[in-house]
Symmetry: C2
């Protein structure tokens, strides 16, 4: 990993609608930007929002009827009860709440605010009051996109589906890997020794999360101008494993 790496934004994707062939749209954007040449170590990071849009993961709040216990929670945290109902429907359980804040364990295991549900940058044509859920299965989407791009380009890039996550203890969101394929989401350093033969302090690196954070630097937040970033020049030797491996098992987690 000793030479330069590049972050290459893909900015000319059309607005994505339910049923769109996102792989084809991304392949075309990639080809416009870099031609036909994918190289080993290339990682394509795709914002979850375009994946969710292609999958049509909209829910119309105008059609949601919150349950009684949801009404109580919503009033406690001062959020729209219909939105809270959609969040709870996407979640296994509430981890923490307080006015303005609802942190849940998403059905896929992510601990995150509002189950990742988004009201911003959503086409109003998608409902009276549309919100957008996370993709159905981000690891599976990443694997499928990787396969399709491989077939079209002759070489398959690694793929990450990214989102912005808040953190315990620190302000601000950072890009985080919801799904991945073709790279080690986690790099296990155990068994490696340091320069002087001692055990390393860091034993596992959240590789896919670091890549998602890097991509997020270009994606910005205010518009959809950059829904995907190609990262070139990284190297890894660990076997590929999906981003779901990044989720700490609840029984090993001291913070939920």
């Amino acid at each position: 990993m000793s030479d330069t790496a590049s972050l290459i934004p893909l900015s000319d994707l059309p607005l994505v609608r339910p049923g769109d062939d996102l792989a084809a749209l991304l392949a075309a954007a990639l080809e416009r930007r870099i031609g036909k040449l994918l190289t080993p170590g290339d990682v394509l990071v795709v914002a979850q929002k375009v994946v969710s849009k292609a999958e049509g993961r909209y829910v119309d709040l105008a059609r949601v009827e919150p349950r009684a216990e949801t009404q109580r929670l919503a009033s406690e945290i001062d959020k729209d009860p219909r939105l809270v109902q959609v969040i709870l429907d996407e979640s296994r359980r509430v981890v923490r709440h307080r006015p303005g804040v609802l942190i849940v364990e998403h059905r896929l295991g992510f601990v995150m605010a509002n189950a990742g549900i988004d009201r911003s940058n959503i086409d109003p044509a998608m409902g009276a009051e549309p919100v957008l859920l996370l993709p159905r299965d981000p690891d599976a989407f990443a694997a499928s996109l990787r396969e399709k791009l491989g077939a079209q380009f002759g070489a398959a890039p690694a793929v990450i589906v990214s989102d912005s996550f808040g953190r315990a203890w620190r302000r601000g969101t950072t890009g985080t890997a919801l799904g991945s394929a073709g790279l080690p989401a986690l790099i296990d350093m155990r068994g490696h020794a340091d320069l002087y033969g001692r055990e390393l302090r860091v034993t596992e690196i959240g590789f896919a999360d670091e890549i998602a954070a890097a991509a997020s630097l270009l994606m910005g937040q205010a518009d959809e101008a950059i829904p995907a970033v190609l990262i070139r020049g990284l190297m890894w030797s660990a076997p590929a494993q999906p981003a779901s491996e990044l989720i700490r098992a609840a029984e090993e987690d001291l913070f939920r």
Copy 2:
């Protein structure tokens, strides 16, 4: 932020010893790599370990006498009581512990494992059993390095002092900003609207942490070959503010 950004590793720094002029060493490494030309938006990310080494932040475990209550905690979590004593001396309080795990609030506010204290990649000449503490004041170091590089290059890069942090809920470490100068550690998106005039879901971006994570992709973990990374091509308009702003106030934190 619509064009390519680059991550440029600086790999030829000598081993750093207490009292070394790290700014001079980094300036020389920078100049060998990119000549005299720093450009607006350049960010130099420096691994905390070389900062700590230059500051001589070594403690020799052979000279540490753990207190009685430290002995009890150390035996509960199965760690060297002398190391636990050094960790507690660097910390305001213990946040969580269990066998093998000690998460504290560092004196500077960071919630992290072992107060960031490191036994790996440390020159054995620094004591019988040397360990290395975090830098004294990472924001101040970043500001001072930025000023010195500005004087030497004519343009001052932004500077981040980075470390690898574990996370609640997710496995693996990610690069995180301990200190920064010359850039907004946190970008406040409140007041911005989305494409359709709605409020954004993400209100604050952990910009300096995302940059530290990106640099960490090149720094690796097994050796000191890459103690600094120059990131080019980022842009920002928010005012500069130090990385200490990234620490969530204890009273606003639901997870400690």
